[in-house]
Amino acid sequence: MVAAFALSLFHWDLLSTPEFAGLDNFKQLVTDGATVRAVINTFVFALASVVTHIGIGMLLALGVHRTMTRGTKYFVRTAYFFPFLVSWAAVALIWKYVLDPAFGLANYYLSATTNWLASPTLALPTLIVVDWWHTIGYTFIILLAGLQTVPAQLHEAARVDGANAWWRFWSVTLPVMSPTIFFATVITFIGAFQIFDPMVIMTQGGPDGATRSIVQYTYEKGFQSFEVGYAAALSLVLFVVIMVVTGLQFRLSRRWVHQ
């Protein structure tokens, strides 16, 4: 980390002698439109990722937690968890074909002719969907485990007091589950801020920077155009963003997470 900070003060292409740059790299961060775009993309991706993972994951967990036949429960749990086991590289390649405008599954079943990954407006949302498909199984299992810790007696007591299903969820299930939800939120956020693989494999950050993430831009600067100092400065931005957002979540958690 210290090394990353030191590097960020230099201009260096890995071959010639490093040249001291002071805060040049950091000034460039603010003026470089591509950096600003990458930071915005990463925030949009992370926010959408958290909302869709926690929201739909919660619905799934509630749906599966009810009484179901064993076979149905087994199938649903396994089916949603399977994609999580597949490496990002394989996921990204499979989806590139699923989304192919000519022979992909997506357009066939949606009766569309969209070129999902080439559209400046649709490319990022499409990657959010692919990421959701890949990791929802994890969120779902964590939330389901949290749901199973809610004592049945509490529900019974609330029922005796005349609470309806919605009120029982709001006043019993959610508070007991809040530490689990908090944990899942923090982990999803941190993971989403580090997103790299699908951008590199599916869109190369395109079209026109619409899907470029912070980490991917760091990679381009550090290992493709060999501006090592600038790449180090970018990676520090990522670090600071993760620190601040995580710190903020811990602070806010005091208001809603029950210990």
Binding site: R66, T72, I142, Q194, F223
Partner: protein, 270 residues
């Protein structure tokens, strides 16, 4: 009635979730001329293994699988060992600065690997280790999360057991390997599964450090294969992906119970 409807929705959702994986396997098993048809076929007719036979013509698949396996095994064994030793030291030994060092380690927990990749790349260049498998497993031998996780686990094992062993004249290594680690087996298993899975599926690090095909791991190899077959329908690529994905899915079906239990209890994520 309402419950049945919800079941149906969940099952249909499950079918949609696995559809891309079924499509993958079906196309991998199809003759090139039958693959990627619309409307999609869900049963290969007739099934053939010829695509699988062509994989080694395009990428050194066996070598890549061996690289992936070697890196994953070394990483897992190394990370488990160093985590166990460090966790024991941080929990059971007293030495000056112990808690300070531990809090610095905790801070390292939130440092993303992407921050360290540029300096480590430069270091590996000095050591002439770029484009070797060593560059992948060497930095992974110490796993901060593993230390933290095992320390928590070990702290729940009663100290009376250590004291009894000390009475019998046991040293630290004896206590760690004969008393504590056997009791920490569930924790070690959960950590081991996840370190292995994370290493096996890792793309970022090998993508940056490895460039020659015979050094690559499977995820990077798949992406390079995609470059080789171009943008068209690629049954051979699908066959290669199937070879990577299917063993993991089968292993999961066998060990599903302990696997899910370990995630649910520890929240580990690759």
């Amino acid at each position: 009635m309402k419950g049945k409807l919800l079941d149906l929705v969940l099952v249909l959702g499950g079918v949609v979730m696995i559809a891309p994986l079924v499509w993958l396997v079906v196309n991998a098993l199809s003759e090139p001329i039958d693959a990627f048809q619309l409307p999609p076929r869900w049963i290969p007719r007739p099934p053939t293994l010829q695509n699988f036979q062509q994989v080694p013509d395009l990428i050194p698949f066996a070598q890549m699988a061996w690289n992936s396996l070697q890196i994953a095994v070394i990483t897992t064994a190394g990370a488990l060992l160093t985590s166990a030793l460090a966790a024991y030291a941080f929990n059971r030994l007293r030495f000056p600065g112990r808690d300070q060092i531990f809090s610095v380690l905790l801070a390292a927990l939130v440092v993303p690997v992407q921050l360290t990749v540029v300096p480590i790349f430069i270091m590996m260049r000095w050591l002439h280790l770029v484009d070797t498998t060593v560059a992948i497993w060497l930095p992974a031998l110490v796993n901060v999360f593993g230390i933290f996780f095992l320390r928590q686990y070990i702290s729940s094992i009663p100290r009376e057991l250590d004291e009894a062993a000390i009475m019998d004249g046991a040293g630290h290594f004896w206590i760690l390997f004969r008393v504590i680690l056997p009791l920490a087996r569930p924790g070690l298993t959960a950590l081991g599964i996840f370190v292995f899975e994370a290493s096996w599926n890792n793309f970022f690090w090998p993508y940056i450090f490895l460039s020659s095909p015979e050094k690559m791991t499977l995820p990077v190899g798949l992406v390079s294969l995609q470059g080789a077959v171009g943008g068209g329908p690629a049954v051979v690529l699908f066959a290669a992906i199937t070879l990577v994905v299917l063993p993991i899915l089968v292993l999961f079906l066998i060990f599903q119970r302990s696997f899910i239990a370990s995630i649910a209890s520890t929240g580990l994520r690759a």
